[in-house]
Subunit: 624 residues, 2 copies
Amino acid sequence: MQITLSTGKNFNVHKIENLLQTFKEQGIYLVASCGGKGICGKCRIKILEGKYRTESTGKLAPSDIQSGITLACRTFPDGDMVIDIPKESRLVVGDVIEISRSKDLFGLFQSMDGVISPLIKWITLDIPPPTIDNNVSDLERLKKALEEKGLHGMRFSLGFVSSLAHSLRDAGWKINLGYTHDPEAVCISRIENKKRFGIAADVGTTTVVVYLVDLFDGTLVDVGSTYNSQIRHGDDVITRIVYATEENGIAELRDAVVTDINNLIAPLVERHNIMAEDIESAVISGNTVMSHFFWSINPEYIREEPYTPSLNTFPVWKAWTAGLNINNLASIYTVPCVASYVGGDIVAGVLASKMHRRSEISLFLDIGTNGEIVLGNNEWLVTAACSAGPCFEGSGIRHGMRATEGAVESIKIDPQTFEPELGVIGSGKPVGICGSGMIDAITELFLSGIIDQKGRLLKGIKTDRIRDGFEGPEFLFYSDGRREIVLTEIDIENIIRAKAAIYAGISLMLKKVGIVLDDVERVYIAGGFGNYLNIERAIIIGMLPDIAREKFIFLGNTSIAGAYLCLLSDKMRKEAEEIALRMTNIELSVSRRFMDEYMSALFLPHTDIKLFPTVEKLLWKFPD
Amino acid sequence: MQITLSTGKNFNVHKIENLLQTFKEQGIYLVASCGGKGICGKCRIKILEGKYRTESTGKLAPSDIQSGITLACRTFPDGDMVIDIPKESRLVVGDVIEISRSKDLFGLFQSMDGVISPLIKWITLDIPPPTIDNNVSDLERLKKALEEKGLHGMRFSLGFVSSLAHSLRDAGWKINLGYTHDPEAVCISRIENKKRFGIAADVGTTTVVVYLVDLFDGTLVDVGSTYNSQIRHGDDVITRIVYATEENGIAELRDAVVTDINNLIAPLVERHNIMAEDIESAVISGNTVMSHFFWSINPEYIREEPYTPSLNTFPVWKAWTAGLNINNLASIYTVPCVASYVGGDIVAGVLASKMHRRSEISLFLDIGTNGEIVLGNNEWLVTAACSAGPCFEGSGIRHGMRATEGAVESIKIDPQTFEPELGVIGSGKPVGICGSGMIDAITELFLSGIIDQKGRLLKGIKTDRIRDGFEGPEFLFYSDGRREIVLTEIDIENIIRAKAAIYAGISLMLKKVGIVLDDVERVYIAGGFGNYLNIERAIIIGMLPDIAREKFIFLGNTSIAGAYLCLLSDKMRKEAEEIALRMTNIELSVSRRFMDEYMSALFLPHTDIKLFPTVEKLLWKFPD
């Protein structure tokens, strides 16, 4: 059978599989938030010609079905086909994402009294060359020189020894030896060679960020960022854990993210005219599941009660074991994790926030693909993951999408006419709604009285924009004849669930440690989404607590900032380990009290309006 | 171009290379002692049809050349060809060689007060399974259990951690943990599993021997042996070192020998119904070059003054780094080497001989592909390699061959008629002469007065068997019309050189330490060739010193015996390391005094006949 795309590309199919899978094998990736289970309704394709079988799914409007639209993951070809893949169904990964560099990271490092001491140490050795009277082996000669400098019991890998004879002679027996803390020998270079770099990587569920750092002076040389191509196998960590249990699944997930990182390293190395071998250490910061995947370690028990990761504190392993295109023997430090759903990214974030050093009580919120919370100070730290899910990344929302070109990122609704005014990323037409757009949408719908406190669209409102869709009531934000953008009541419900999970997590945590909101001096907002979060509106919908606005501080990507700190210094790594050890994790998913808090937060802003005094005031201004 | 063999097999050639290389790429290996340099004259082929270019070589008789015989390494096809490869030119490797099992090795072990303590240790742990109240990671849980048993700072490889989650659950949290001395975790098994095996391997230049050993009780379960397929790339270590410097050369040499070992392990594992994973440690004993090749470590400086190996003491590396088909994380111990030409096989040999524990002075001789000598006792040990070369393996001798089917292994010459009586291995016709046959030949030619003390064939002898060959005078041992077996004067010279090198080494060593032959209480003969050595005749030709015959003791393959001892016990490994450290190596190749000793030994039996009193007596019995 032959599949022809409307772009002209065509290929033969020898095995009957669903089209999502068939496309994947051709290197054509569709958005498939649910991993191809027919749930998310995102892998929409339009059949232009040909016979096929497809399963009915509640995720498609009858009009869609009539016009030949199907879900690729539920469609099987019955002969030659011609198919159109709409732009919004195409998964774009591997593209470089523009990111703003973190502010003065080296300043942060200095403010923490950091002293540069990377994972690799160096020692200069002047080794007497062999003679016929003293022709002991190269390795024994090297060992003797090391012992004379007081370095005993150095370990030597096969990789190091294999190239030893040439390395020593190429450098003329006057060498710099790079070694790790064990100590284990890593590399030999001429004394003149001063190029030494490191890589800090934030491995997020959605994005991957790489910093190239000069290990001599701590300079952030360059940055790169892309989407985590594991997205091919699902948007959220749970879908990917399930995928990992399939044959070769874990290897594919590992290869995906390692390839992403390598693809980011390649241009950095080229641009700055350095050799991959000159990158002599790396730090990986990611959530627990991402850390497992990076090392291709089985994460399946993370998903099952009692939610046990294979490991939280990762040994320092070598670059070649991970497949990173840097010096093969470079040490890779993985920022330690705390529990199945509180990972190294949060530990790195706390480190970069410095909250663990301050006596005042701070709240740290990382709102990314999931939501993690840390509360505490220099004496105690508690943490929890509230399974907010990736809805703010667009997952589980009919027209949800990431904050890329075409995403509606801000919304105003005229309280009289109920007409929306959309702010769109880029210069083109809108194609979907991203996280900040969703928070705006809920806020505006709520303040305009279009939805009630439970998020239900009210019947009595005089606007055609409220209508009955095939999945129930929905609000039409945009239509240009060809494309529509709606939020359905189900979407609104999902967003309210996500915000409720975050608020309930914060609320429970405060109660657990016996403090009240007023005791919290600072609220740090971290995570990719955090940057674009409108605090005021997040409070109005009841996602963030209603406290003094000046207490909120945006920190940006603290995972990469913490990774940078760990890359540069022994002390920072030790501090990260202490943070991980000190954090008490609260398993919200099995907590009865969390369920109570969560149920109470499934309102706008909350069942107990007294918790949101400024929102209460705001609501009085408008007719109920 | 198409090459057709007389066997009917044919293949196409797309690249013009010499036929030795062309055949190699087809997996057809010819005897090529010199590695294909046109020197050894062994890769003879007969061109039946077709055009070709060939370089003239002194290694072929004019009659051979006329009948279409060429050297494959010097012949290039100019079109389609039909070729016959004579049986004796075919390199047979990969075949299982029958070997006699060493005697009671466990008895030897016990006689040395050995206590079984292999490279892998075991500890039984009863780990509490995770609960929701205590869901620390699997690795932290394991670490805690280890620490409660007093085992701190265990290292964990990625390979171990990758399978940790399943291993722990499969075993129901009641496990045996195998670990190495570092300590590093190796494997987890159910408490009931008691199958634990190890491999001892003797990696010789010519042969590879593998012992499968039960690590519980030291039983030698089974043995396997084959030729080292590195022979494809040359008979002696120097030729192979040169080959190693070619592109991919070292990888090919490594793959050859590792494949040999794996091919020996496979039937052992199958025959005894064990899993490759149950083989949990291995010991490799080989000369310094073989040890380098096994680990694919650059040996090129071994060949150049000042003869420096990359290393003598090998770190304990993992099986997967070597590519051995046993438990990936199994530790591989390499018996330590002493110098470029005194390797782990000699250290293992000394260990198995126990000479390092005795107060009496012993001489240890390993006569294999090369000749190594150790002299000493429990207070001192000196060693030297005398570059005897692989002539006793057949290399460098026109009709030389290894001691396999068809080899002339014993010779008697009637002193009246000068007619030889040949003893041949197997039931077929003779095809060449092996080492023991050469020693017999020289002895008999000498005692019959056919050759003089310098090894020259005497003109006046009345026999047609002395004749002028294309390389000069030669003695015809066998002819059946089709095949002839001769020893040329050049061959005889080579054999005398080899025996002279061994004697000169012994002689110089005694002088260096200031003792005389009478001080030597025992002479241990080791090495594959050693088993078949006729002491009396080796003394007559002046290879071995003329001392009381009862002092000579055959030990057989001491390299594998020492490897067995090291496999079983920490103490034996420590003892091997002490032996290696204690041995003082004498570099004969640069010694002026060695050259003097060597020149004196280039006679039968020696220029100084007084050194060989029993031979002197014998010679009086015969007319001069």
